[in-house]
Assembly symmetry: C2
Homo-oligomer: 342 residues x 2
C-alpha cells in the first residue's frame, strides 16, 4: 500500500492538514516545517491521491478532450498541442474518442465526465442537444474547429473564405469545370465544416459565372480512401472536371492516388487543391489552403486555462488565419493561355 497523508503526518509529527498545506504550497506553514515535510513526503514516495483530493476540493485538475478520431493527422496534431499546454499547467487529459455514432451517443447519454473534469475541449462540433448537455455541466467549455457558439469559447478558421481561396485559385488559372470532393451535408454526425467549404466553392462559381454541375461534386468522407473513390467517380462524369477542390488534404491525396491509377497527370490533365496543409502535402507537392493546425489546440487550451483562472476578458471566439500555398498540383487550364483572368 502506498503512503497516505497520515503516514507523512505521523512521520513528521504534525497533523494531516499541515502536510496538505505544505505540499500544495499554501501559506500558513513555516518555511522550516515545509522543507521538512516535503523531504519526508519525497522519502516515503507520497503523492496525494487525485481522486480523494478532488472529491474533497471539487477540483479535478483534469480536462476532458472530445475528439472524433485521434488517428487522423489533423486531430492528433490538435490534441497533441493542447496536451502540451494543459500538462504544463498541471492538468491531466481525459481523452474521449467519439468517432462512431454509437460511442458519441453513449457519451452524451451518460456524460462520464461529470465531476471528473474541470473543463472540456471539444474537437467535434456538438449538435444543439449535445451542446445543451455540455452546458449543464457548468464548467468552462471550448470548441476548436468551428464557428462561434453560445456558451462555448471557440477557435476556428473562416472555412467559407478558405474554400473561396482554393476555388478562386482554380478559376484564376482558367478552369471552368471545377469539381469538388467533400462530404454529405447531412452526415450522421453534426459538423458544419463541409457545408461552409461547399458554400465557399459555390460562391466563387457564381461569382465567376460558372453554372453549377452536381455531377462534379462527390463524397470523399474526409478520408484518403474516400477521396480516392470520389475522384474515381468524378472521372466517370460525362464531362469530367479539369480541376478539383478537395476539402481536405487527405482526400486530395486519395484523389492523387486515383489519378495515378488512371494514368492521368497532375497538374497537366487535372489540377488539385487541398485544404489544411498536411505535414505531407509538401512531399507530394500539393497546392493547398493552409491553416495553423497545432495552433487550434494551443489557443483553445490557453483560453480554457484562462477561464479556469477566472481571467476577465477572455475572448469567446478566436479566428485563425488561412492562406493559399501554391505547389505543383495546380497549373493553368490547358485551354487558357495564361492563368490570370481576374
Amino acid at each position: 500500500m502506498a503512503a497516505s497523508i497520515i503516514d507523512v503526518a505521523q512521520a513528521v509529527g504534525v497533523s494531516p492538514s499541515t502536510v496538505s498545506r505544505a505540499l500544495r504550497g499554501r501559506d500558513g506553514v513555516s518555511d522550516e516545517l515545509r522543507v521538512r515535510i516535503i523531504a519526508v513526503a519525497a522519502d516515503l514516495g507520497y503523492t496525494a491521491s487525485r481522486n480523494a483530493s478532488s472529491l474533497a476540493s471539487g477540483r479535478t485538475c483534469s480536462i476532458g478532450v472530445l475528439a472524433p478520431y485521434v488517428g487522423r493527422w489533423f486531430f492528433g496534431t490538435v490534441v497533441d498541442a493542447a496536451e502540451r499546454v494543459f500538462s504544463a499547467a498541471g492538468y491531466d487529459l481525459l481523452l474521449y474518442n467519439l468517432g462512431s455514432v454509437d460511442s458519441r451517443k453513449r457519451f452524451f447519454a451518460e456524460l462520464p465526465v461529470r465531476k471528473r473534469v474541470d473543463a472540456i475541449l471539444s474537437l467535434l462540433i456538438p449538435t444543439e442537444d449535445e451542446a445543451e448537455r455540455l452546458r449543464s455541466l457548468g464548467i468552462p467549455l471550448a470548441i476548436t474547429v468551428g464557428g462561434p457558439r453560445p456558451g462555448f469559447t471557440t477557435v476556428g478558421i473562416d472555412d467559407r473564405a478558405g474554400a473561396e481561396l482554393a476555388t478562386r485559385h482554380l478559376v484564376n488559372l482558367g478552369h471552368r469545370r471545377i469539381g469538388r470532393i467533400g462530404t454529405q451535408p447531412s452526415a450522421p454526425l453534426y459538423w458544419t465544416t463541409p457545408d461552409l467549404r461547399r458554400r465557399g466553392y459555390l460562391d466563387v462559381l457564381v461569382d465567376a459565372g460558372i453554372p453549377h454541375d452536381p455531377d462534379l461534386e462527390a463524397d470523399g468522407e474526409y478520408t484518403v480512401e474516400g477521396g480516392e473513390r470520389a475522384m474515381t467517380r468524378l472521372l466517370t462524369a460525362v464531362r469530367p472536371p479539369t480541376a478539383v477542390f478537395a476539402e481536405s488534404d487527405e482526400m486530395a491525396m486519395g484523389a492523387l492516388r486515383a489519378l495515378r491509377a488512371h494514368r492521368l497527370r497532375v497538374p497537366e490533365d487535372i489540377a488539385i487543391v487541398g485544404f489544411d496543409d498536411h505535414e505531407l502535402a509538401d512531399v507530394v507537392g500539393l497546392t493547398t489552403v493552409a491553416q495553423p493546425v497545432a495552433e487550434h489546440g494551443t489557443q483553445a487550451a490557453s483560453l480554457l486555462l484562462r477561464l479556469l483562472r477566472d481571467d476577465t476578458d477572455v475572448p469567446d471566439h478566436v479566428e485563425l488565419p488561412t492562406h493559399l500555398i501554391v505547389r505543383n498540383s495546380t497549373a493553368p487550364h490547358r485551354g487558357s493561355l495564361h492563368g490570370g483572368i481576374e
Copy 2:
C-alpha cells in the same frame, strides 16, 4: 448541483446502498425494485461520481496511456485503436504525452497516475528505472512497440527482421551502396527500435559481403524534416548511395522531398524503402516494410483488459507480423541487369 445517490434513494424510498446495488447490476435487489430505481435515476439524470466510487471501491475504471507524441501518425493510430477497445469495456483513457525529456522526467518523478488508473499502456519503451517505477504501482502494465520485458505484457514486431527484409530487398535489386536513415542509438529517450533496425541493416550488409560505410548512415530523427535533412546529407557523401533504407515512412517521405529538391529521380537515381506502411505510403508509391499499426493498440488493450479480469494464460508477449510491400520507389540498380541475385 447534480443529483447524488441520496437523492435517488429518497425519491424511491430506499437506502443508498440499495440504489448502489441496483444501478451496478449486483444481485440482492428484487427485479421490480431495480426497475424502479433505474427509472428514477434516469429521470433525475443521476450518474455515480467516478471519483467517489473509485475512492470507495479502489477501482478507477481508467487506463493510463503513455505516448511520446500523439500527433505522429503511428502513435495516433495506436492510441485510437486502443481507445476503442477500452471504451467499449467501460474504461476511460488518461493520456500522457511524454514527448519531451522534461515532461517525461516529471511524469516518472511524480507518477500522477498513482491511484488514478487501473492499468497502464505505454507506447514508449521505459528505461530500467522508469520500468521499476511503473512496476511499483502494482497494476497491470503493457508496452506496445517493443520487445519482451519482465513485469510487462508486450506487443511488438521483430524490428531486426523487418529491417533485414528492407535491406535484403535492396541487395537483391543489385544495390551495393545502401544508405540508412535512422537515429542516434544514444538518443536522449531510451528506445530500442532504431538500434534493432540498424542491426538488421548491418546483418544483411555483412551477409552480402558489403563493407560497412559510416558515411552512408544519417540521423533522420524519425520525422519528415529530419529525413529530409538526412537525405540531403547523404547526397554530399564522396560516393553517394544508390539506395536508402529509411527506418520509418515519415523519414522516407522526407528523403523523397530532398531528392525532388535535388532533381533526382526515384527509383531511377536512388531507390528508397521505408518502414511502417504509413497510410500515405501508397499515395507516394513508397516501397515499405508493413506492420499492422492499429493492431498494436488493439492487441495491447485487449491483453490489459484480460489481465484486469484476472484471466489466466494471458501471453506476456505477442509478436505481430511484418511484410515487404513493393511499390514504385525501388528498382534494380542501374549497373545490374536483373534484380534477382540470390
